[in-house]
Symmetry: C2
DNA sequence: GTTTTATTGATAATAATTATCATTATCGGA
DNA sequence: TCCGATAATGATAATTATTATCAATAAAAC
């Protein structure tokens, strides 16, 4: 329950990797710290591009390799949505996501894990359940505002056209 | 709330398509009826293979084209899981899924849609929410049984090895 | 420092899906 | 019933995300 700083979390993560016999490299460290500090749930390619100026020769394969390794070490998680590419999340505490169906933005929201639904599935299907995933879809505040303004604009235009008669 | 038969549901679906100006073809009809009757949540490729003996010359592109079209007409839905291919579901009533992390099997389970979680997301994030997705992960009855048996077998083997000393 | 071997980076391979386009078949109307 | 406009099919190329391969490089234990 202690609220660690970014530096403390990074230190922890490095320790975890060392215990696993994983060597630390500049590329690996950059990917890890990028994921620990960002809130944007980036794709592999976005991470690749974000680090391109600091590591101009880094291969995209290195990004994928490290994401897989970090995931296996329990330091990041992979979020898989419909069509596009996987997204990665360095915030490992239990939380849910809302995603904007207009701009693709993904935001966290904190809500206690709904274990009851796992129990319910267990009861109804005979599965031994272990976890669940849940995302909410909607329109983010920025896109809502944009839509409102577009609607206003359309109304004004329609009115002006009407007055021309 | 009326419980339509398979034939009635098919008839309905065909009508829906006609209204949309969509022509009926043997391939399309086969894909549609396959999805309406199965409970297995097949991939595009599985549908393709299942119909291969009846339509040996059907292109895989035709399967994809039709799945997209049926989805847009609201007659089937697409389920996207982690890595692998999309799965398709012809059961359009609200329901949730459990999937087996061992064999990949997907089963339905009926539970009233948890609208409260959409409201909660709305309150916490300012999104205008519209829907959510939720799946439970676990081990299906068949795989549980297989695991139990494997464990028994291992125990017996260990005991026999012990007796040899 | 030397040595071991995990890691990197370049690139090829794979897999799912979409795009292209010439040929074919549906279906409303003559 | 036949016709014509055009939607749909099937073959195949293209695209995209991801994984595999492997020689060169660089951690880090000694
Ligand atoms: Mn998150
Ligand atoms: Mn289902
Ligand atoms: Zn948005
Ligand atoms: Zn199973």
């Amino acid at each position: 329950m202690t609220d660690l700083t970014l530096e403390e979390r990074l230190e922890e993560a490095v320790k975890t990797l060392k215990v696993r016999g994983v060597r630390m490299t500049p590329q690996r460290y950059a990917i890890l710290s990028y994921l620990l500090e960002t809130r944007s749930h980036p794709t592999a390619d976005e991470i690749y591009k974000a680090l391109a100026d600091r590591f101009p020769s880094m291969s995209v394969a290195t990004v994928y390799n490290n994401l897989k390794l970090l995931k296996e070490a329990g330091l990041v998680r992979e979020l898989t949505f419909g069509d596009q590419a996987s997204r990665f999340d360095g915030q490992m505490h239990d939380h849910y996501h809302v995603t904007c169906i207009v701009c693709g933005r993904i935001d966290d929201f904190e809500y206690p894990p709904m274990r009851f639904i796992e129990k319910e599935a267990e009861r109804l299907t005979g599965y031994a359940t272990a976890e669940h995933r849940m995302e909410v879809y909607g329109i983010c505040p920025a896109c809502r505002k944009a839509q409102e303004e577009a609607k206003q604009m359309a109304m004004v235009t329609a009115k002006a056209a009407g007055n021309e008669h």
